[in-house]
C-alpha cells in the first residue's frame, strides 16, 4: 500500500487506529446500516452511494462531477454523519488562499510563540465544493494534504485525523473563469462519479420527504470511528488471486495502447482499482475478489485518469467522458476473463 491517506503516523491512533478485523457478517451489517442512512437522504442513487462507501472504506478520495443541486453535498454530509465523523466544507472561490485550506500560524503575543490555527482541512470528511473555481495554488494545497495525510507548515507537521476523505465536486458545465483539475491531480482521486438527475419517481418521493424538513437532521451515527477502522482492516484482508491481478493488469495495459486514448491509466489507477475491488467484494460478502468486482469499478476508477484523443472527444457528447466510458467498457468486454481449467478439458 502507498502512504496516501496514511494512518500510521497519527498520534491519535488510539481512536481511529487499526482495529481488529471484523467477520464478513458484521462488516455487512455495518455497511448495510450506513447504506440505509445514505439512501434515506438521497433517493435512487444506490450506485453513487455505494461508490462513496467504497471510497470511504478503501481510504481514497472521491471526485463528484455534476451540475449543482443534485445532492453532492448531501451525500457527503450523510456519509460523515453516519460514521460519526467531523465534516467540514470549503466553498472554493477564485480568491480562496491555501492558508484558508490548510491553516495558518499566527503569532500569539501573550505566549510569544506562533500558534497554529487549523484550516478547514482538519476534519474527517472534507467537502471541497467547486474545486475548479479556486486558483491552482489553492487546489495544490488541498491535493498535497490528500496525498500526504498531513499539513506541514513552518517546519511543523500537523497530522490529519483518520479517516480522512476528500469529496471534491466539480461543475463541468460552467467552464469560464475556472481552473479545471489537471490530469495529474485528477489521478489522486480514487473514484469519480457523477450523480445524475434522479428519475421522476425518486424526485417525487424526495418532495414528500422534504416537506417536514431536511432528512439530514434525523440521521444519527451508526458506526463509530473505531468500527470504521476495523472495517477498513477487514476490507484490506480480502484476497486477490493471481488470476484476478493479471486480469486487472491486462485491462489497465489495454488502456495504454487503446487507439482512442492519448493517455492511459496510471499504475496508481491499478492500485486504486484493486483496493476498491476488495471493498466491493467485502460488501458483497465475499472473502475474495472476482472479475465482476473489477468490471464494476473500471469506469468509475479509471475513466477520470484517461485522456481521450481529440477525435474521440469531439466525436461524442460530454467532452469525451462518454467516449472514454464506452471505450473502457469495450476493453472490459474484450479482455478474456481468467479461468484456470484443468489440462485435459
Amino acid at each position: 500500500m502507498t502512504s496516501e491517506t496514511s494512518l500510521s503516523p497519527a498520534p491519535a491512533a488510539g481512536s481511529g487506529g487499526t482495529g481488529a478485523p471484523l467477520s464478513l457478517a458484521e462488516f455487512q451489517e455495518l455497511t448495510g446500516a450506513i447504506m440505509q442512512n445514505l439512501e434515506s437522504v438521497i433517493d435512487g442513487k444506490t450506485e453513487a452511494a455505494t461508490l462513496a462507501l467504497v471510497v470511504l472504506i478503501a481510504e481514497g478520495h472521491l471526485l463528484v462531477e455534476d451540475v449543482p443541486g443534485v445532492g453532492k453535498t448531501t451525500l457527503a454530509k450523510a456519509l460523515a454523519t453516519s460514521v460519526g465523523c467531523s465534516v467540514s466544507r470549503i466553498q472554493f472561490t477564485p480568491d480562496l488562499l491555501p492558508s484558508d485550506v490548510t491553516g495558518v500560524s499566527i503569532y500569539n503575543q501573550s505566549d510569544h510563540a506562533f500558534e497554529f490555527k487549523r484550516g478547514a482541512v482538519f476534519a474527517n470528511i472534507v467537502i471541497a465544493d467547486e474545486i475548479n473555481r479556486a486558483s491552482p495554488k489553492t487546489q495544490s494545497a488541498l491535493l498535497e494534504c490528500m496525498e500526504e495525510g498531513q499539513v506541514s507548515l513552518d517546519g511543523t507537521t500537523h497530522p490529519l485525523d483518520p479517516p480522512f476523505i476528500v469529496v471534491a465536486t466539480q461543475n463541468p458545465i460552467e467552464m469560464e473563469g475556472t481552473y479545471a483539475l489537471p490530469e495529474a491531480q485528477r489521478d489522486r482521486f480514487m473514484v469519480r462519479i457523477s450523480m445524475g438527475y434522479p428519475d421522476a419517481a425518486a424526485e417525487l418521493q424526495m418532495l414528500h420527504q422534504r416537506e417536514s424538513g431536511s432528512p439530514l437532521d434525523k440521521l444519527t451515527a451508526v458506526v463509530d470511528k473505531q468500527q470504521l477502522a476495523a472495517m477498513i482492516e477487514t476490507a484490506r484482508a480480502v484476497y486477490v488471486s493471481r488470476a484476478v491481478e493479471s486480469y486487472v493488469v491486462s485491462i489497465v495495459q489495454a488502456t495504454r495502447v487503446h487507439p482512442e486514448f492519448r493517455l492511459g491509466a496510471s499504475p496508481r489507477g491499478t492500485l486504486h482499482l484493486v483496493r476498491a475491488a476488495k471493498v466491493l467484494a467485502a460488501l458483497s460478502g465475499r472473502e475474495f475478489v472476482v472479475p465482476d468486482d473489477i468490471n464494476e469499478l473500471v469506469v468509475p476508477v479509471l475513466a477520470h485518469r484517461i485522456v481521450a484523443t481529440r477525435r474521440a472527444a469531439s466525436d461524442s457528447r460530454g467532452g469525451g467522458t462518454q467516449a472514454i466510458a464506452d471505450a473502457l467498457r469495450a476493453i472490459v468486454a474484450s479482455t478474456p476473463v481468467p479461468l484456470n481449467r484443468s489440462r485435459a478439458v
Binding site: M1, T46, E47, T50, L51, Y239, V240, S241, R242, A243, V244, E245, S246, V248, V249, E260, T270, L271, V274, L280, L283, S284, G285, R286, E287, F288, V289, V290, P291, D292, D293, N295, E296, L297, D315, S316, A323, D326, A327, R329, A330, I331, V332, A333, S334, T335, P336, V337, P338, L339, N340, R341, S342, R343, A344, V345
Partner: protein
C-alpha cells in the same frame, strides 16, 4: 445475499457490455441488434458468389484434365451444367442470407432431384424417387464401372460413364463450394478439384498434362483469394468478434501464396525432366526398379502384376475362347527363360519377323514321329491389354489379327510394341502333342547346344535348391522321370497354395533367395511353384523356362456353334514351367497344387508305367473337382467371375450391400460429432469426481452445452455475465446456475486453502440438472442442431495462465 455485487441493484438489467459501444469497434457481436440474422449474414457474405464462381472454374479446368480418357466433349458440357446449376442454387441462397445448413441441403436436394430426373427411369409422378429408382441408379453405376473397365482409352463417354461423372462431380462441387465459400476453408476445398485431376494420370499412367495443372493451380489460387475476400467489401469492418481472425485466414498476402504455388508448379514440371525415370507410372508401381515395368505395358507384368491381378477382388473377364480340343487350353503369352542373373528375365526375341499370316514353323525339338493332332481355337479378347498375344503352345498359324504383330519363330510367341490385344478376335491353329510313353522315356538324353542358355544358373544358387532337386529326383533314370518326380514333389500335399503369404518383396520377386525361402515355407502361388520347378529342373540338367499366360479358364457355361465357350478371368493368370526334352520339345508341367487344374496326363507318374499311348488330356475337364483342401476355396474364387443366375442375384445383393454400406457410412459421418461430443461429456462428468477443479470442469461442460445450443455468449463475459445472459435466452433453474457459478468463483479466485462449500457429488448433480434442463427446454430444432453439429468440438481453449504478481 440478494444482489451479487453491491453496485448492481437486483432488478437492474445485466450490464450489456457487449455491443454497447459501436464506436469502440471492439465489442463482441458488434453488429447492431436491429439487423436480422439474414441481413447480418448477407452483410458478412458480400462477394461470396465470386468464390463460388472460382470453385466452378477450378472444377471445370480439373474436369478438362479427363479429356485424354474420354472421347468427345458432351460429357464435359453435361457435367459443367450440373455444377453450374447446383452452385448457382447455393450462391443465390447465400446471397439472400440463408444459413449454411439450408444452402447445403437445398443444393444437395437439387443435385438429387436432377439425378433422379435425368437418370432414373422409374419415378413416381416424375420426381418422387421410389425403391426401383435407387436400383436403377445403382444399376447405371454398375454399368458405368463395367464400361470403364472394358473400354480402351480414350473411352466412348456413353450414358453410363457421363452419368457417373455428372453425379460425382456434382457432389464434389457442393462440398468444395461449401468448404471454400461457406466454411471459408478454401485450402481444404482444393481436395475436390485435385481428386478430379488425379484420375487421368492414375488411369492413363501418363505424365500429367502440364497446362491443365497450371491452369487448375491458378484457379485454385483464385478460389483461395475470393474466399478470403468474402465480406471484405461490405464497407463495414469485419465481424468484430474476431478482430485478428480475418487476417490469419489467408489471402492477405497474395504475393506469398502466388510464390509458393509457382515454386510447386515449377517443381512439378521440372522434376520429371530432371529425373527421367520418375513418372506417374513409376510412382504408382511399387517396384520401380523391376525391369519388367519398362518391358511390359499396362496389361500383365509376369511377376508383380500377376500376383496383384490374382488378388483382385472383382475379377474381370480377360478373354474367352472356343476350341476344338476336348479340354481347356493353357494360353501362353511370354516365356521367362533367362535366369543367369538370378532373376527370371523374359527371353530376348531372336529373328523376330513381322507377322502377316505365315506359318509358325515346326515347334522346337519336336520329332516327326511324335503323334500330333491339329486343334483350332477361336480367341476373343475382352479387357486384356498387353503387348503379348495369348496363344496355346505350340501354335502353327494365327488368322484374323489386326494391328501389326511380330512373330518370334524360336519361341512361337507373337508380340507387338503397343498394347494392342484389346478387342482382338483371332483364329489359332495349333497342335496337340501326344507322345507315347516310350518316346517320353527316350527323350531328353541329349541337349542341343542352342539350348544351353536354358540351363544357365547363377553362380550363387543356394545349395538347398540343387540338394532338394537331387533328393527329389532320387533314383529316377531318365530326364523325363526326374521331371515327373519334381512335379509330384510339389503336388504331393506338402505344399499349399496361398496368394497372401508370400507378399513381401523378398518373396514376391523371383530370385534365388525367394525360391530357397519358398522351399522352406512350402507355401506360395503359381509364380513360386513354377520358378522353383524350373530352377530345380535346370539343376538336374533339364532345360527349362517359365511360361506366363492364362490357365484354361472356366468350363463351358455357354455353347457357341456347338463348341464350348471358355471364359478366362484375370484371376486365372498363371505361370507354369515348360521343360525341354529333345525329340518331343517343350512340354508344360503343372506343379501348382490347390487349383482345379490337373496336370497333363503325360506328366503323371502312372502314365509312363501304365504305358498308355493315347491323347494327352483326352478326358480332363478343367473343372474336375480335386481332392486338394484348398481347391474348394479356389474354385469359389474362380467362379465369382461367372454370371450364373444365382450369382446375378448375389451381385444384386452385393449392390444393395454397397448402397447400405454407403448409407451407413454417411450415417456414421453424420453421427460422429454427436458421438464425440457425448464421449467428451461423459468423460467430464466422470472426471468431476477426481479433477482438482471440479466446479470449473462442470462449468466448462455447461459452457460447451450452451455453445451447442447456440446460446450467444462473449469471450469477455465473466461468470456472472454469462449467468445473466443465459437467463435471457434459455429457461434454466436460476438457483442451480447461481450455486454452480459461486462454486466456480470460489474455486478460481478464493484464497488457497479455503474450505469449499459444495461436495463433488452436488456439483455433479447440479451439472446434470442444468444439462437436462437445457435439452428439455430447447425446441426440437435447436436440440438436433446441438446434437448433430456441436460447435463446442471446434473450439480451442486457451489456458489462462496467471502472470507474475504485479499488484501487492
Amino acid at each position: 445475499m440478494s444482489a451479487p455485487t453491491a453496485l448492481r441493484p437486483p432488478s437492474a438489467p445485466p450490464p450489456e457490455r457487449g455491443g454497447r459501444a459501436p464506436s469502440a469497434g471492439r465489442a463482441p457481436g458488434g453488429t447492431p441488434p436491429a439487423l436480422g440474422s439474414f441481413a447480418r449474414r448477407r452483410a458478412t457474405r458480400t462477394g461470396s458468389w465470386k468464390s463460388t464462381l472460382a470453385v466452378a472454374v477450378c472444377l471445370g479446368i480439373a474436369l478438362a484434365g479427363l479429356a485424354p480418357l474420354l472421347q468427345g466433349g458432351a460429357w464435359w458440357i453435361a457435367t459443367m451444367s450440373m455444377v453450374v446449376v447446383v452452385l448457382a442454387v447455393g450462391a443465390v441462397l447465400r446471397g439472400r442470407g440463408a444459413p449454411e445448413v439450408v444452402v447445403v441441403s437445398v443444393s444437395a436436394f437439387v443435385w438429387g432431384g436432377l439425378v433422379v430426373l435425368l437418370y432414373a427411369g422409374s419415378t413416381l409422378w416424375f420426381l418422387l424417387p421410389t425403391f426401383s429408382t435407387l436400383s436403377d441408379i445403382s444399376g447405371d453405376l454398375a454399368a458405368a464401372r463395367q464400361a470403364i473397365a472394358e473400354q480402351e482409352i480414350p473411352a466412348d463417354a456413353g450414358g453410363a460413364i457421363t452419368q457417373l461423372i455428372v453425379m460425382a462431380v456434382g457432389l464434389i462441387a457442393i462440398v468444395s463450394d461449401e468448404l471454400a465459400t461457406g466454411l471459408r476453408t478454401p485450402v481444404l476445398s482444393g481436395a475436390g478439384p485435385l481428386a478430379v485431376l488425379a484420375i487421368a494420370p492414375l488411369v492413363n499412367r501418363t505424365d500429367p498434362d502440364v497446362p491443365v495443372y497450371v491452369l487448375a493451380a491458378a484457379a485454385f489460387l483464385l478460389v483461395v483469394w475470393c474466399s478470403s475476400r468474402i465480406g471484405a467489401e461490405s464497407g463495414r469492418a469485419r465481424p468484430p468478434s474476431h478482430p485478428g481472425r480475418g487476417r490469419v485466414r489467408g489471402g492477405r498476402n497474395p504475393g506469398l501464396a502466388v510464390g509458393i504455388a509457382a515454386v510447386a508448379v515449377a517443381a512439378m514440371v521440372a522434376l520429371p525432366t530432371v529425373t527421367p525415370g520418375l513418372t506417374a507410372q513409376s510412382l504408382a508401381d511399387d517396384s520401380a526398379s523391376s525391369p519388367f515395368s519398362s518391358v511390359y505395358g499396362a496389361g500383365i507384368d509376369p511377376t508383380i502384376q500377376l500376383g496383384r491381378d490374382l488378388r483382385r477382388n472383382d475379377p474381370l473377364l480377360s478373354l474367352s475362347y472356343t476350341t476344338s480340343a476336348s479340354h481347356g487350353l493353357y494360353l501362353k503369352m511370354v516365356n521367362l527363360s533367362d535366369f543367369s542373373t538370378g532373376i527370371w528375365q523374359p527371353e530376348t526375341p531372336q529373328g523376330a519377323e513381322s507377322y502377316v499370316g505365315q506359318d509358325f514353323g515346326t515347334p522346337q525339338g519336336l520329332a516327326a514321329d511324335v503323334p500330333t493332332a491339329e486343334v483350332t481355337t477361336s480367341i476373343s479378347i475382352a479387357t486384356l491389354r498387353a503387348e503379348w498375344l495369348p496363344l496355346p503352345y505350340p501354335t502353327q498359324r494365327v488368322a484374323g489379327l489386326s494391328a501389326p504383330w511380330v512373330l518370334t519363330p524360336s519361341s512361337l510367341t507373337v508380340t507387338s510394341d503397343q498394347a494392342a490385344t484389346q478387342g482382338q478376335n483371332y483364329e489359332v491353329t495349333g497342335l496337340s502333342v501326344e507322345p507315347t510313353a516310350e518316346q517320353l522315356a527316350a527323350a531328353g538324353s541329349v541337349i542341343p547346344v542352342a539350348l544351353s542358355g536354358f540351363l544357365s544358373l547363377p553362380a550363387d544358387l543356394p545349395a538347398v535348391i540343387s540338394d532338394t532337386a537331387r533328393q527329389v529326383a532320387g533314383s529316377a533314370a531318365t530326364p523325363y522321370d526326374k521331371a515327373v518326380a519334381l512335379q509330384q514333389y510339389f503336388r504331393s500335399g506338402q505344399f499349399s497354395y496361398s496368394l497372401n503369404a508370400p507378399d513381401s518383396s523378398s518373396y514376391s520377386g523371383d530370385n534365388t533367395q525367394m525360391i530357397a525361402a519358398f522351399l522352406q515355407d512350402k507355401t506360395g502361388y503359381c509364380v513360386h511353384f513354377s520358378a522353383a520347378m524350373a530352377v530345380m529342373a535346370r539343376s538336374l540338367g533339364i532345360p527349362s523356362r517359365i511360361a506366363v499366360g492364362y490357365a484354361p479358364g472356366q468350363g463351358a457355361n455357354s455353347v457357341s456353334d456347338g463348341a464350348a465357350v471358355y471364359d478366362v478371368y484375370t484371376n486365372q493368370l498363371h505361370a507354369w514351367p515348360e521343360l525341354y526334352f529333345e525329340g518331343i520339345g517343350w512340354l508344360p508341367f503343372e506343379p501348382t497344387p490347390g487349383l482345379d487344374f490337373t496336370p497333363p496326363d503325360y506328366s503323371l507318374p502312372d502314365y509312363a508305367q501304365a504305358g498308355v499311348s493315347g491323347a494327352i488330356g483326352s478326358t480332363r475337364a478343367a473343372s474336375t473337382p480335386s481332392a486338394d483342401p484348398n481347391a474348394a476355396r479356389d474354385l469359389a474364387q474362380n467362379v465369382s467371375g461367372t454370371q450364373t443366375p444365382e450369382q446375378e442375384a448375389l451381385g444384386q445383393v452385393r449392390g444393395w450391400g454397397t448402397v447400405a454400406a454407403v448409407l451407413g457410412g454417411i450415417a456414421a459421418i453424420v453421427l460422429l460429432p454427436w458421438f464425440l461430443r457425448a464421449l467428451r461429456r461423459r468423460s467430464r462428468v466422470r472426471r468431476i469426481a477426481s479433477d482438482e477443479r471440479p466446479a470449473t470442469l462442470a462449468w466448462t461442460e455447461f459452457e460447451d452445452a450452451l455453445d451447442d445450443h447456440r446460446v450467444q455468449r462473449s469471450a469477455g463475459d465473466t461468470l456472472l455475465d454469462l449467468e445473466q445472459r443465459v437467463h435471457e435466452s434459455v429457461k434454466l433453474p436460476a438457483t442451480v446456475v447461481d450455486r454452480l457459478r459461486r462454486e466456480v468463483e470460489f474455486e478460481q479466485y478464493a484464497a488457497p486453502g479455503s474450505a469449499s462449500a459444495q461436495t463433488r457429488a452436488s456439483i455433479r448433480s447440479e451439472l446434470l440438472e442444468l444439462l437436462s434442463a437445457l435439452s428439455s427446454g430447447a425446441s426440437s430444432q435447436r436440440l438436433w442442431l446441438s446434437r448433430l453439429l456441436p460447435v463446442s468440438l471446434l473450439r480451442r481453449r486457451r489456458a489462462a495462465a496467471p502472470t507474475r504478481s504485479l499488484v501487492p
